[in-house]
Homo-oligomer: 274 residues x 2
Amino acid sequence: FQFTLMVVGASGLGRTTFVNTLCDADVVPKRESDEPEMAHIEEGIKIKPYTVELDEDGVKISLTVVDTPGFGDMIDNEHCFQEILGYLERQYDDILSEESRIKRNPRFRDNRVHALLYFITPTGHSLREIDIELMRRLSPRINVIPVIGKADTFTPVELAEFKKRVMEDIEHHNIPIYNFPYDPEEDDEETIEENSELRSLLPFALIGCEEEIIVNGRKVRGRQYPWGIVEVDNTQHCDFAKLRFALLSSHLQDLKEITHDYLYENYRTEKLSR
Amino acid sequence: FQFTLMVVGASGLGRTTFVNTLCDADVVPKRESDEPEMAHIEEGIKIKPYTVELDEDGVKISLTVVDTPGFGDMIDNEHCFQEILGYLERQYDDILSEESRIKRNPRFRDNRVHALLYFITPTGHSLREIDIELMRRLSPRINVIPVIGKADTFTPVELAEFKKRVMEDIEHHNIPIYNFPYDPEEDDEETIEENSELRSLLPFALIGCEEEIIVNGRKVRGRQYPWGIVEVDNTQHCDFAKLRFALLSSHLQDLKEITHDYLYENYRTEKLSR
Ligand SMILES: Nc1nc2c(ncn2[C@@H]2O[C@H](COP(=O)(O)OP(=O)(O)O)[C@@H](O)[C@H]2O)c(=O)[nH]1
Ligand SMILES: Nc1nc2c(ncn2[C@@H]2O[C@H](COP(=O)(O)OP(=O)(O)O)[C@@H](O)[C@H]2O)c(=O)[nH]1
């Protein structure tokens, strides 16, 4: 299987750490130089794909992660949206031109992006203007899945309140995110239950970490604070494990089908009828 | 004693909670309505002073806190700087016109702001463009003290690294923040030691909370996580207690003197010689 995932969010929300935790490897390098003289040359947003081979319970997956460092770091972030949208549409244009070729190119790589994880800043308030605009502008071209970065900054009560408020905002602005769709009439009991559970977790509370800590003699991936240890793989502490299973296993096909049969087709119709 | 403190920072960094913890009272109301239809009418920045009477070990202090909700929430934040600078200079203009009056106004209130706490987003990377610009543009008019909001999102190692990087950035860009100045030749041993300790804490790691939790039978102000309890007043967990003592006790006079004798005088000279 091949799957392409884009991650977008303000810097410092743990995007890089999450990708490395997802792949259990140092796929995205930690910021090279945060030297003061380098750090403030705001180059704006960059788009960088990384590919890694994963083995999910015996199933080989070639996972491409498209990182977008620099999003939201400027005083004026208007052009960031264009850069990302441009990248997504270029992958669709490649398919469009490949489809109309007489002679197929055997080495053609389909780089369409199947899902976008949008890291929401854990403010405790409602969505900011930049959050709404990004999801609104990109959801016609890609499956947008909202997540909360550094979710360990919330107490359980605050987390529940924040999730509720974010989803209220998304519904109020009619933003068509990917919400694990199901048909209560057609689908079987198990699918309905699985999808409605995943939908109730939106936005997924993510915690990333790159260290292993020994807890009661066992090795766990976690963050060590003076007041306690947060465990990434503990579903009581965050939604990391459930999101990982949905992306790389249970919903990988669904995300690809929606991208190919719906999102790409819409783009193609729009483009050809101009 | 009278003291005026401004707090500035991106929303969701715990600014409101910090002020209420500092005053041990609900001085700044929690966001009134975060209703979805209200939340996104980005009105831009607002400037709201609140006054509260405090009793610091028998010394009465009339503390005015100037809150600045809306800073940094827009896609384009250029005008935020002007709004804050404008407010600070208007207080100086009031003094200027009062000074040149023949008949003094007995009820005149001096609203000059003596210090500004700038809440840096705990990204784990270097300062963002908006952080640099705010401190650079305001430090000629006010004592700027950088602090880290929601510092409980850092492990002790990450916190030490982040503090070091922030100060490297501030030095690299020659931003004249308030760094607890002392003169190794003139000052006595105790002052040198106290000021160099406070300087080494910059940027202060702040944690705010409004709940009381019972720990081992005692009431503490803290945040309760599934993995442990963070205590605001515990100097092992954050710098809240040390900053509070510096602002409301040991350095209150120093901050006022620098504002009146140096920052205001510079403004007056610039303005009158135009
Ligand atoms: N509290 C907390 N900190 C995190 C988490 N993930 C990463 N960090 C820390 O946040 C900082 C920035 O992480 P990074 O992954 O580089 O963020 P990015 O800029 O969004 O890619 C680093 O110091 C990480 O150790 C998390 O889930 N919770
Ligand atoms: N992790 C953490 N959360 C905090 C802290 N202080 C406040 N919060 C939470 O962050 C959210 C926003 O706080 P608020 O003070 O309104 O932020 P403001 O927008 O900067 O004024 C609320 O859910 C608070 O409970 C803190 O020190 N650490």
